[in-house]
Amino acid sequence: MSIEATGIVKRFGSFVALDDVDLSVASGRLTALLGPSGGGKSTLLRIIGGLDEADAGQVRIDGVEATGVPAQRRNVGFVFQHYAAFKHLSVFRNVAFGLEIRKRPKDEIKRRVGELLELVHLEQFADRLPSQLSGGQRQRMALARALAVQPSVLLLDEPFGALDAKVRRELRDWLRRLHDEMHVTTVFVTHDQEEALEVSDELVVINHGRIEQVGTPTDLYDKPANDFVMEFLGPVTTLGGRLIRPHDVEIFPQHVDRSVEAEVTRVQRIGFEVRAEMRTADSEPWAQLNRGQAEELALAAGSRVWVRATD
């Protein structure tokens, strides 16, 4: 089920949240909308889901005009950052909600909710209230609830944003596996570039209400369209007036072709990674190395080295 959004404009007062945005999501893909907060990515997602209304532009879901169709008739799945659990309903009733609204027979609801709870590993928590679950469990419940109605597209708004780092990582892997099994067209919003690079098939970088670049994670990382995308997708440093990735800074003990002389000002170890901060005549680059490389070069504050950018 594809999503086509064309010419989307959204203003809040004088603030332009989305400025003539076109987005196209292919059927069955897992797409990440990535960008800094306030950049418009959540607004775009909410407009696709029908929770916000665009000032201009069209949304088509699976080729069908959805602009102006209220959220309750779009048949989308939506997962919120803060779970939006129905606090007075059990886990079972939460997941069953959409099916009950659609007046499905009782035994079908029971079977379907059972399957979904198994899928999200919450089968033994069916009778609990959301307040008796952890954050990660609540978000899995919310995901099961969204999937219960067999939505044409699944939209997730910063789904892991309220969770701690370890649970975040688990849920991220799990979302990726789930998507590989179900193939439901999925769009998720995140401001975490690592999350976006790791999970998604396709990345859409949004900033200041505009789309900066669209492509596969590899494309965007290797061939960023501009400095903003480059900076947003990973660490950067400047060498010889150019923006480059710190792992693309090569260090030599003696002069080589195209290299410039630098003095090491600080060496910092972070687990297996080593960061070397340096000073050249015109800039202060830093390099990302592994432990072996750093030891081989015997890097220490005050060492004299030659640096250049890898091609």
């Binding site: 889901g49 029908g50 929770l51 209220p70 959220a71 309750q72 008739r73 779009r74 048949n75 989308v76 799945g77 939506f78 919120f80 803060h82 779970y83 939006a84 659990a85 129905f86 606090k87 007075h88 909600f97 959409g98 609204i101 659609r102 919310a142 609830r145 969204a146 109605v149």
Partner: protein, 269 residues
């Protein structure tokens, strides 16, 4: 040692305050009401005047509270769910009835709906609708006085819960009525119950505003509520006022105790 004495002092002050203001007067009423024994109760409550007064009080209270429940929830939703010009003003306007003297409320209603020189009085009289010195006026007065009670209980809950659950229900296919019944209502139910009980308690006891608009007609087609009957008996030095007062207090206290018991049980589970 000093800390303990301080705490003891604090507790005595709090207890003394509540005692002087609430417990002693209630105790005196109860004591007087029970002094004449069972027969005193029966004669105070069984006269035709008393029975009609109780029925009228109940009718007015139920009608006023029903009105305020519907509009209280409606206005609470309006204030918390929509951004519009005058939203804050509406919120503070709803608090007005608490600070305006009930007598003034009564007079204001007479000035608006009064049959002789009220604003709408003439046209209402032409249409043969009597508001002042009749049941509608008394319901209006009671509704005015109890207006903020439901609203003030419900607004903070709606504000705290935010829109997430309703939006989630919306994308799952629930229409406005289904969202209200399945999500909003369960969320506000404890607060709403408490607001309704407070309104009922206040409505049963309302005196000032009702007195002004009622005309206090006793007998056939009467407009005498229980508080008005109590006043009459006190002024005429007739027996039976303590028993009536005791019943009003009992109903109020029971209602509030039941609701707070239910509330604390819900917060435990």
């Amino acid at each position: 040692m000093g800390e303990r004495r301080g705490r003891l002092l604090q507790r005595s002050i709090a207890l003394g305050y509540v005692g002087v203001l609430v417990i002693v007067p209630l105790f005196v009423i109860t004591w007087r009401a029970l002094a004449d024994g069972w027969s005193g109760f029966v004669s105070a409550l069984s006269s035709e005047q008393a029975v009609t007064a109780f029925r009228l009080t109940a009718e007015i209270a139920v009608a006023a509270v029903a009105i305020n429940t519907v509009f209280g929830v409606g206005v609470a939703l309006l204030i918390t769910r929509y951004r519009f010009r005058g939203r804050r003003f509406l919120g503070s306007l709803a608090d007005l009835p608490i600070s305006v003297s009930p007598i003034v409320v009564g007079f204001a209603l007479v000035l608006v709906y009064g049959p002789t020189n009220g604003w709408f009085g003439k046209s209402l009289a032409h249409a043969n609708i009597q508001v002042i010195f009749a049941l509608p006026g008394m319901i209006l007065a009671t509704a005015f006085v109890t207006m903020p009670l439901v609203l003030r209980e419900v607004v903070p809950v709606l504000e705290e819960e935010g829109l997430d659950q309703e939006q989630a229900a919306r994308v799952l296919g629930a229409n406005a009525v289904q969202r209200f019944r399945r999500i909003t209502l369960p969320v506000i139910r404890p607060a709403l119950t408490y607001g309704i009980v407070l309104s009922l308690a206040r409505a049963i006891g309302e005196f000032g505003a009702v007195k002004v608009v009622s005309g206090n007609v006793s007998g056939v087609g009467q407009t005498q509520t229980v508080p008005l009957l109590i006043e009459e008996r006190v002024e005429q030095i007739e027996p039976g006022s303590y028993q009536l007062a005791f019943v009003l207090i009992l109903v109020t206290v029971l209602a509030i105790v039941l609701v707070s018991l239910k509330r604390s049980k819900e917060s435990v589970s």
